[in-house]
């Protein structure tokens, strides 16, 4: 039972992070390797707003979320905008460089110490009993809820709102979408904003659960295979991928050696990729036309 809870919480964390990779990749085919850093900044932003709005934790969270969204928009407007239509590799390298810059800035602004936004917010992270001896941390439960809200919201948004439909269109065929009057820059900006928002949220939850420091970046990078298992362009795929990788990891810790828990997800991934090279839910590229 505890095993299931642990898997679900880990999967939720991965899914929340992976969602950002998928959002950006879908519309621009760019793999955002600064996503881990943007996620970490979410945690740090919460740390700052928590001390800024001491005593009003909800306001602090709201402001941190807004700042995250703004950060994503800013990244697009200032940087990524210049790389639409350029080689994807160059755009990916830009995100790497951005990541290095952000890591340096984070040390400059917040030092390399392990810090705890939860303390600043004045909240606790109690364990809640689920019966059957299983418990879940409040932050874990919140992560699960956040996944439900973010994924549910995104699916509805993409399906029913005009902006969501534009975003899907841009992802499927940017040229055609542009011809039909979809303003690509705005759609891309929105994608970056939403990706950073969800990543920032993941960073905040992570920071509440176990504090925030530079290693958050590597957690962000670990979620990248998750997005791949599901297929980089599918949100529901990211959910399933997260479950699969988390289950592999938790089972490896429980029944094999914890040492291999870093490696096992990759074996799952390799096996899966060899069976379905385009990811679990990714669209299979049409037959190559010559």
């Amino acid at each position: 039972m505890q095993l299931v809870v642990n898997t679900l919480v880990l999967a939720a964390t991965y899914a929340l992070i992976a969602c950002g990779y998928v959002l950006v990749y879908r519309v621009s085919r760019v793999l955002n390797l600064a996503h881990g850093e943007l996620m970490m900044l979410g945690g740090y932003l919460l740390l700052t707003t928590a001390s800024l709005f001491a005593g009003r934790p909800l306001l602090a969270v709201a402001v941190a979320l807004l700042l995250s969204l703004g950060l994503g928009l800013l990244v697009y407007v200032v940087l990524m905008r210049h790389f639409t239509g350029e080689s994807v590799l160059a755009a990916v390298l830009v995100t790497i460089a951005l990541g290095i810059l952000l890591r340096g800035l984070a040390i400059l602004l917040w030092t390399a110490q392990l810090q705890y936004p939860l303390v600043a917010l004045g909240w606790q992270n109690p364990a809640l009993s689920l019966g059957g001896g299983a418990v879940i941390s409040a932050a874990g439960l919140l992560t699960l809820a956040a996944v439900a809200v973010v994924y549910g919201g995104l699916l509805l948004f993409l399906r029913y709102t005009p902006w969501g439909i534009r975003m899907r269109a841009a992802g499927e065929n940017p040229l055609l979408a542009a011809q039909r009057g979809v303003a690509l820059p705005q759609v891309l900006a929105l994608a970056w904003g939403l990706a950073t928002l969800s990543g920032g949220l993941a960073g905040m939850l992570l920071a509440c659960d176990s504090g925030i420091d530079g290693t958050a970046v590597i957690v962000g990078l670990k979620a990248f295979p998750v997005a791949l298992v599901g297929g980089l362009d599918s949100l529901s795929g990211a959910l399933v991928g997260a479950l699969l990788v988390a289950a592999a990891e938790v089972l490896a810790i429980a029944y094999l050696d914890p040492l291999v828990s870093d490696v096992v997800p990759f074996f799952v991934l390799l096996a899966m990729l060899l069976l379905r090279p385009w990811g679990l839910f990714g669209r299979r590229e049409a037959f190559e036309r010559v």
């Binding site: 505890q2 095993l3 809870v5 642990n6 919480v9 880990l10 964390t13 991965y14 890591r103 340096g104 040390i107 030092t111 390399a112 110490q113 392990l114 705890y116 303390v119 992270n125 364990a127 418990v135 941390s137 874990g140 992570l206 659960d209 176990s210 504090g211 420091d213 530079g214 290693t215 590597i218 957690v219 990078l221 670990k222 990891e249 938790v250 810790i253 429980a254 050696d257 914890p258 040492l259 828990s261 870093d262």
Partner: protein, 389 residues
């Protein structure tokens, strides 16, 4: 280029030249420090480096040593061996340092040791884990003042657990999956039966892991009554918190890293013990006041984390005080082989190096825990001397 720009450039160059000339005239004792100030491990090593810098600044303000200032060259190796190697090369061949200091991850040791040996310049591990080579019989060039003492730490920890626990102990061990941490914890696992302690679980946790619950669940399932962790702080404390979340009621002994004092106050758990060699600031010794004053000059690190680097600074001063002008690396080495530093209460006793022992002749441990009634850290065990042979 504009005329004015040239003008300004000329002025800058002149200023640099003047500074250079002044520096030449004062003839400093020059030492080089390669530290992980950014990147992995920065949370541990940046405060150490900062404390050494603050100490040296105070030392120079007091007039330096034998009328000469101490010049501390600091380089950031980002915990990368290649950078550390390049810095070491620069220190010994270009800057002509008398002594090199290392405050970084263990991966930066081999390249620095390599350069130190080639140039015959002593290498002083300050704040980074002591390599085995400083224990007796010591390598002629390697020295260490850091509080950690591999092997001795685990021996002391197991003894402490044995005497604190009333009955039989089921012990879980926790390390981070980096060689240095795993090696120590594996040693503790082998050692435990000889202390009548039953090791029930040995978890080696990858450094970046988003969720410690799966590891904690395994420890809890193994029925551990005690946990001993010897790992970077993150791994120790996150495992502990995950265990408490799962409702585990046992006791936890962790190594007291530089941020242990703040962390005890945050956790407020009476059964979370930390052991180490540095005195907490709650004792408010005169030397602690000194550190607080130095920190007030401006630093981005909490002052309670500066003790480890401060000890290194004291050792550095004591060593250089034994070197007459003009200094050479050989003279420094000779001074290091017979140094005895009064740590003024920061450690349990003096720190002494001998020609065969570059660690310390006697090592002192203290164990702290949080006390709810006093709302502060209290001693679970006062200074315990361990002879290093």
């Amino acid at each position: 280029m504009q005329h004015r720009t040239w003008h300004r450039l000329g002025l800058t160059l002149a200023a640099v030249a003047v500074l250079f000339a002044v520096a030449q005239a004062q003839e400093p004792y020059r030492v080089g420090l390669s530290a992980a100030l950014t990147g992995r491990g920065a949370e541990t090593y940046a405060p150490v480096s900062e404390a050494i810098r603050l100490y040296v600044a105070r030392l120079n303000a007091r007039g330096g040593i034998h009328g000469h200032p101490v010049e501390l060259l600091v380089e950031d190796n980002v915990a990368e061996p290649s950078r550390a190697a390049a810095h070491a090369k620069k220190f010994v061949s270009q800057d002509g340092v008398l002594l090199m200091l290392n405050a970084s991850l263990s991966s930066t040791y081999p390249p620095m040791i390599h350069e130190a040996k080639r140039a015959g310049v002593p290498l002083f591990f300050a704040g980074s884990v002591c390599p085995r080579e400083v224990y007796p019989p010591a390598d002629p060039l390697l020295f260490c003042s850091t509080a950690f003492a591999a092997r001795y730490d685990s021996e002391f920890a197991l003894d402490f657990i044995k005497e604190t626990a009333a009955g039989p102990v089921k012990l879980a061990l926790v390390s981070m999956s980096i060689p240095i941490s795993r090696g120590e914890v594996d040693y503790a696992e082998q050692l435990a039966p000889s202390r009548g302690i039953e090791p029930v679980s040995n978890q080696s946790i990858p450094p970046p892991t988003p969720n410690y619950a799966p590891f904690a669940a395994k420890i809890k399932a193994a029925g551990a009554t005690w946990v001993y962790a010897w790992a970077p702080w993150v791994t120790q404390v996150k495992t502990f918190e995950a265990l408490r979340q799962l409702g585990w009621q046992g006791k936890f002994l962790a190594y007291a890293h530089i941020n242990a004092e703040e962390e005890l106050a945050r956790l407020q758990d009476e059964h979370f013990y930390v052991f180490g060699a540095n005195a907490f600031f709650s004792h408010n010794l005169p030397v602690h006041q000194e550190i607080l004053q130095a920190a007030a000059q401006g630093t981005m690190h909490p002052p309670t984390q500066l003790a480890e680097g401060w000890v290194a600074g004291m050792v550095l001063e004591a060593v250089l005080a034994g070197v007459s002008w003009p200094p050479t690396p050989a003279k420094v080495l000779a001074a290091m082989n017979r140094v005895r530093v009064d740590t003024r209460g920061l450690r349990g006793g003096p720190l002494e190096w001998t020609p065969t022992n570059h660690f310390r002749t006697t090592h002192y441990y203290r164990v702290y825990r949080w006390d709810r009634r006093q709302q502060g850290a209290v001693l679970a065990k006062d200074w315990t001397a361990v002879a290093i042979k």
